[in-house]
Symmetry: C2
Subunit: 209 residues, 2 copies
């Protein structure tokens, strides 16, 4: 099993945290996104979508999304459970994780990719060029602000995003809030639940992964 990573990028950090929480130690191949290695022939052959993270299984199966990679790892290595231990938990964690990705993680990415010079003509991840759209810089930021406000409420009287157990939803939310620094967005001080939770997650070994 090989994990194609990029130490500075937020998407593969989700997988690094997941692997760390599972105590899994696997072969890592660093992909230099800054040097545009993801557009090189060798990488495109592995993943035509030209993105990291990628997990290549021993039978050659290639998984090219955090969603697919984490789902595989959870099924292959069930303990500690990060995606629920019964149907209701599985549903709730998947539900929250989906929302956090859409409204938090991808909203920050929308704002960042539509402004950063290095993403000119690559405002959407993947092989096809897409011009930046200036309106999305503000829209993404506004959406990320709404996400933080929602997350703060969600964490009211809850230790973790989905309740009293740490889950993949905490990983996605932690990486999203951290990623927001890239657009110079920090949660307002009055979002006390969010700040308490973020500080606690940052103390975990996996947060350094």
């Amino acid at each position: 099993m090989k994990f194609f990573d990029c130490a500075t990028a937020p998407s593969p950090k989700r997988v690094r945290m997941f692997l760390s929480e599972k105590n899994l130690d696997i072969t890592v191949v660093e992909v230099d996104l800054g040097a545009r290695q993801q557009h090189g022939d060798a990488f495109v052959k592995l993943n035509s979508h030209r993105t990291v993270p990628v997990l290549q299984l021993d039978d050659g199966t290639t998984l090219t999304s955090s969603a697919g990679i984490c789902r595989y790892l959870e099924a292959a290595h069930p303990e500690p459970a990060l995606m629920g231990r019964n149907p209701t938990e599985c549903g709730l964690i998947a539900d929250l994780d989906w929302r956090i990705e859409q409204e938090g993680f991808l909203a920050v990415g929308e704002s960042f990719r539509n402004r950063a010079k290095s993403f000119k003509d690559h405002a959407v991840t993947g092989e096809h060029p897409h011009a930046q759209i200036p309106e999305l810089v503000d829209r993404g930021r506004t959406r990320a602000e709404h996400f933080m406000s929602w997350l703060d409420k969600q964490l009211n009287q809850r230790e973790f995003v989905a309740g009293d157990q740490f889950s993949v939803a905490d990983i996605t939310a932690f990486v999203a809030v951290d990623f927001a620094k890239w657009i110079k967005l920090e949660a307002p001080a009055e979002q006390k639940n969010l700040h308490r939770w973020f500080a606690a997650i940052a103390e975990r070994e996996s947060a350094k992964a």
Copy 2:
């Protein structure tokens, strides 16, 4: 268990097909999106995100995304398996389903919602207003065209999206291709794998759900 549905909307159709494939018959509450019922007090109390589908479990847990709802239903009613029968299948199906949603289903939605008069100031689903961005009409359509081209290749020598077993990835892809008619986009005739597969899925009982 109660399912909040809207018979004419594409998102809840994903859940209707999933329920049908599982042979589950549950209480359905129709939400009239045309009459903006999702913004009414009763519905907002149930789901502050103001979207369908919603699945309310008997213990009061409320799931507000296709991802969360299908994950719950799969765990609670494992047969027939629609999300994989072993770790590799689980990972691969989650991976494909994620990509199909992002690059197919949501791309069509992006094009549609940024043009349709009824979505003026509501170009993004949810409680917060967002103005339409005209550039996204074309960008969403282009992304959906790329998705169809990818899907056609993915279906080369495969009966179903993930291989020889029908899965949730077929449901998401089928609804996405069908939804594309809303933006007057049909797969080109030369995408023969896609057309063969679409016709086969359309014959299933669940496609009429």
